[in-house]
Symmetry: C2
Subunit: 209 residues, 2 copies
DNA sequence: ACGGTATTCTTACGGCGTAAGAGACGTCAA
DNA sequence: TTGACGTCTCTTACGCCGTAAGAATACCGT
């Protein structure tokens, strides 16, 4: 059989493309192989197992988030949060992965370290700074999950359908809020911005900035 | 074969017990049947498919969180957040489910509606109140995922192992923070409390309470 | 005893991750 | 040219999964 010139990187790239196009449920070793014109077992030459593919995917996504921690810490921390959200929204199928797997991959750790170092240089304690970064990161993941989270099986959960069929007698406030724009992109954006501000201003320890 | 006196409720209860005991990955229809002394297909008499079992599980967990929205809104909203976190920590294997599935089940909606109504009675707009509830809920889910989240396959991700093998030269601040208690239960608790306070005080619209 | 309904089981299909090892290809030494 | 060797790919197989289709059983009212 002809050599195809595969590599771990090409395998991961194909996996990301497949997942973006058809969702996480479509990612199987056989299918991924087919996508690359190769049998399933061939992939095991470049990757130890499927879990490694998944870990590779989240590391790809996380590594793309790079923020220069210069200037007022609140500003670049906010930019960090915005960048995570943008990256996650760009690959919503990865959300369940990022949410469930701890961020131990090299890419993520390096970014965290750099931000923590920058914060400590501004007078934060090491633990203090990391708690802050951590709080922001977990908030963003939680928010984005609610905004664009998909159930592994079927993408695009039918939120609107369920919402529209709500009994206004049983859930009057919910119905009213829905008519006022709850769940729209603007609503998500606004809630994200305001909650993020609340965190950034409420978590600064004893008079920083 | 003798009748066993099964029911949807007993199936869900067994599923929850199984998941708590052995993790989400252990929940298969055949295994769940075996747990109940029954063949896999028998379950389909009580439940349309496996997805319905999963939905039932999260509804069970979510429904157990009931908070009486009386008194100062900040206090019962905080109690709500604490209750969600406690429930999720009690069943960490459910976290990936709760995080990925939108909370459309009847139990969750009813609670949300009651809280939104209470907030509106205190002068919040319908949308305003629901945004607040929403922000708190997504924060709690995000935080708890980071605190106790498990990868569906193997429970108890080996955080400590990876952390201990960190190169102090490459990640000095991280290592320092770890020595100072990053990742301990107390650290999680403290970060949760402080971030929650920040949210509750920073998200109140124009001078409420 | 009997008919009907409620409950359970059997069988089967196509898909999954991956262990084990056989086979084909390219390269280089003899 | 030949052969051996490392690199890459394929074939086969196992035991799991969710579940469609329908046969078989157990119970109940008559």
């Amino acid at each position: 059989m002809p050599r195809v010139g595969l590599s771990r990187e090409k395998v991961l790239a194909a996996a990301l493309a497949l997942v973006d196009r058809e969702g996480i449920a479509a990612l199987s070793m056989r299918r991924l192989g087919a996508e690359l014109g190769v049998e399933a077992m061939t992939l095991y030459y470049y990757v130890p197992n499927k879990d490694a593919v998944l870990d590779g995917l989240i590391d790809m996504a996380v590594s793309r988030v790079t923020v220069e921690p210069v200037g007022p810490w609140r500003e670049w921390l906010r930019a960090f949060a915005v960048a995570i959200r943008r990256e996650l929204l760009a690959h919503p199928a990865l959300l369940p992965l990022v949410a469930t797997r701890p961020v131990l991959a090299p890419g993520g750790l390096a970014t965290v370290e750099r931000m923590a170092a920058a914060l400590r240089a501004e007078g934060f304690g090491a633990l203090e700074g990391l708690q802050l970064v951590n709080a922001v990161a977990t908030f963003v993941v939680g928010h984005t999950l609610a905004e664009a989270g998909r159930t592994p099986g079927h993408d695009e959960p039918d939120v609107t359908g369920v919402m529209e069929s709500l009994d206004p007698g049983e859930h009057p406030v919910l119905v009213e809020a829905l008519r006022a724009g709850l769940g729209t992109p603007e609503d998500h954006q606004e809630r994200f911005d305001r909650a993020l501000d609340a965190l950034l201003h409420g978590l600064a320890p004893r008079g920083k900035s």
